[in-house]
């Protein structure tokens, strides 16, 4: 998992970076609510220069998916 992404997730959700694993899931983590999800997207768009569509934002539910989106955007860019 991209270490910078793990850091952003940890900071946005206010959790230790060690606890950010690819299995981390929106539904299961209380701090990962809809507002923090949007903030996370904003932060990673800024950090990695990517742009997610509204559907992508809505349908992304795990750290692994975010990691994949970031990775795909970076290799294509």
């Amino acid at each position: 998992m991209n270490p910078k992404l793990a850091e952003l997730i940890a900071e946005t959700l206010d959790i230790p970076v060690a606890s950010v694993t690819p299995e981390l899931t929106r539904d299961e983590h209380p701090a990962w609510d809809s507002l923090n999800h949007l903030r996370l997207v904003t932060a990673l768009e800024e950090e990695f220069g990517v742009q997610l569509s509204m559907d992508e934002i809505e349908n992304t539910t795990t750290a692994a998916q975010l990691d994949a989106l970031v990775g795909a955007a970076q290799t294509s860019g």
Binding site: E11, D14, S34, L35, L38, R39, T42, M54, I57
Partner: protein, 629 residues
């Protein structure tokens, strides 16, 4: 955010430590994440808040509220925020059980997204008739007014209303300008009316949200995806500037106000060193770019003076040189008469600052000191940490903006007294001078020819009355800081008597200088508050007010007791002897809940008016409006 700073926030063990860490970022500004981190830590420490703030609106405000808490803390204000349910601002004020009752906010902030308030706006505006478009203005203002009315019935809190922010572009594009009450005109009209409609209401303040968003940049603050996905009308980028705006309001509501701007002269008010370049060599002329920058700074200072601040000059110079410079350079925006006090000499600045504070009868903690010399600034910072010291940047082009940006110079409203303050201090200086000439106190007081007018306070005086309660530290027997809504209730209640005292003398009009508040109880009359501005102290107005208190008490409870409390603070020693001087006897109650309180009593039947020298008092109906000031 740096790891060190973050660790310091998370490690702050108490409020003082957290305030100190937050304060480090007060000048540079906080990012949303930094502000949020502060807010989280503050929540964990759970100190008693200075202000409880309720946020209401028709868009998502949770993140904004946390951001405001962080920014306010960096200014030294502890805010406990609560966000009302989305789009239920009317319900929240109509049904106090929805939060107003339990939370009991000091401030309620309302912000409405006009496009949600008037769903016809985005697409349908052009389809409406001109009359219907104009009707939209009344519709939106009507909704705000209905909310204010309901809110006032439910709470005495200060009401902050955000104005309406314009979209990036009108939906009709360029043609909007030709529509007649198109979108641009609609927003401009609404906002102009909002300001005007609430300008004289002391409980309601319109917050210029539109301006704050424009300052950040409309491209950055409108994010359509966030609006659609999260009902976030303001993107994260918009929040720091908006939070700063609210934090300024909060600081001005609760922090002790600064009162005087102390200015260095060389390379502060003008370019160059007067002692070397002479009055013709200093740079302050029109046409000289550097001179123009200093002129802009002087004009900004002039504007701050009109906010009710006193100006003082503090400079290492020969006094004759400075006098000559102000005489010869009468083209400067600032004149020597603008300064209410000055110290031009070679003494250390911290001594001079203390002397200036003494001259003006204010505390050194009321001073804002501005100088270009880093060494002078550092010394004052170390020796007088209570003074707000501002070190000017290298480039005078930045001076004016820096001054107008200072949060310590904010006032939420101005009174006639504020607008005339410098004039009043010059009148005071003349009074002082004549005190020196006359020598004999009795003769001096008579020579002043003080005339007092007393009358029960009405709404017309509410702003000044509130200001006296909020700002008076020295002659204030209980230092109760009532809110405007509470003061309004005292004015209307038959069991309370709130009376104001205006003064004038042969040197000028001092305006409303004092007040007292009495409560009628079953067997007694309680003196709740007695307040006198320091400008009117020591000339017998105290006794005149004491006599009025006795007269009102005699009307109410001729056989009862007058009961009073003096509650000592760090600053109100000048009023400590008031009750004894008026013939009250100290009567300890053995009350352990407030051990510092001193209690006084006086049998109303035995209360006699005391003689006052050289003062005429008019306590009847006033024939005309009080003079400005």
């Amino acid at each position: 955010m740096s790891d060190d700073w973050r660790a310091a926030v998370d490690g702050a063990g108490d409020l003082a430590a957290l305030k100190a860490v937050a304060g480090e970022r007060a000048a540079s500004g906080l990012s949303v994440r930094e502000a949020e981190r502060l807010a989280r830590r503050l929540e964990a420490l759970a100190p008693a808040p200075d202000l409880r703030v309720l946020y209401l609106g028709n868009h998502t405000l949770d993140l904004f509220a946390r951001c405001v808490t962080g920014v306010a803390l960096s200014r030294g204000v502890v805010v406990e925020g609560q966000v009302g349910p989305y789009d239920q601002h009317m319900q929240a004020v109509l049904d106090p059980a929805q939060g107003l009752a339990d939370f009991d906010p000091h401030v309620v902030f309302l912000t409405l997204d006009l496009q949600r308030l008037l769903p016809v706006l985005p697409a349908g505006l052009a389809a409406l008739s001109l009359k219907d478009r104009q009707g939209l203005v009344e519709e939106a203002l009507g909704q705000v007014a209905a909310w204010v009315e309901a809110a006032k019935a439910a709470t005495g809190a200060t009401l902050l209303i955000g104005n309406f922010w314009r979209p990036r572009r009108p939906h009709l594009g360029l043609a909007d300008a030709k529509l007649g009450m198109g979108e641009a005109e609609l927003y401009a009209t609404l906002n102009a009316r909002l300001f005007r409609d609430w300008s004289s209401d002391p409980q309601v303040f319109v917050v210029d949200v539109d301006q704050a968003l424009a300052t950040t940049g409309r491209r950055a603050v409108h994010n359509a995806r966030m609006a659609h996905l999260g009902k976030l009308a303001w993107a994260e980028a918009a929040l720091p500037e908006l939070a700063e705006l609210l934090a300024r309001h909060f600081a001005s509501l609760v922090l002790p106000p600064k009162k005087c701007l102390v200015l260095d002269l060389d390379n502060t008010l003008w370019g160059g060193v007067l002692g070397e370049e002479g009055p013709d060599g200093i740079r302050i002329a029109r046409g000289d770019p550097v001179g123009e920058a200093f002129r802009a700074f002087q004009q900004a200072i002039k504007a701050v003076q009109r906010r009710g601040f006193l100006l003082a000059a503090c400079s290492k110079n020969n006094p004759e040189d400075v006098a000559e410079a102000f005489r010869l350079r009468s083209d400067m925006p600032l004149q020597w008469s603008d300064f209410a006090a000055s110290r031009v000499n070679w003494e250390p600045k911290h001594d001079n600052l203390a002397a200036i504070a003494t001259d003006l009868n204010i505390g050194t903690d009321s001073l804002v000191f501005i100088d270009d010399n880093p060494a002078e600034c550092e010394l004052v910072r170390q020796l007088m940490p209570e003074v707000r010291t501002v070190h000017l940047p290298r480039d005078p082009a930045e001076y004016a903006h820096l001054l107008l940006d200072l949060p310590e110079l904010e006032r939420m409203a101005l009174t006639d007294e504020d607008l005339r303050k410098t004039e009043q201090y010059h009148e005071e200086a003349k009074r002082e001078a004549s005190r020196v000439e006359v020598g004999d106190m009795q003769a001096y007081l008579e020579s002043l020819g003080t005339a007092l007018t007393c009358w029960p306070a009405t709404r017309a005086e509410l702003t000044r009355v509130h200001q006296l309660f909020a700002k008076t530290n020295q002659f204030n027997v209980t230092t109760k800081r009532y809110k405007p809504a509470e003061l309004e209730r005292f004015m209307l209640s038959p069991d309370w008597h709130l009376e104001v005292v205006a003064a004038r003398d042969r040197f000028g009009d001092l305006g409303i200088v004092g007040l007292f508040l009495l409560e009628r109880r079953a067997q007694s009359v309680a003196v709740d508050s007695v307040i006198l501005s320091c400008r009117a102290m020591g000339r017998g107005v105290e006794t005149a007010m004491g006599n009025r208190i006795k007269a009102v008490a005699a009307d109410w409870r001729p056989d009862g007791q007058l009961e009073a409390v003096f509650r000592p603070t760090r600053k109100n020693k000048p009023s400590a002897d008031f009750f004894t001087a008026q013939g009250f006897a100290e009567a300890p109650l053995g009350d352990t809940s407030a051990p510092d309180d001193r209690h006084f009593r006086l049998a109303i039947g035995e209360a006699k008016p005391l003689p006052v020298t050289g003062i005429t008092i008019d306590n009847g109906e006033r024939e005309d409006e009080p003079q400005a000031g």
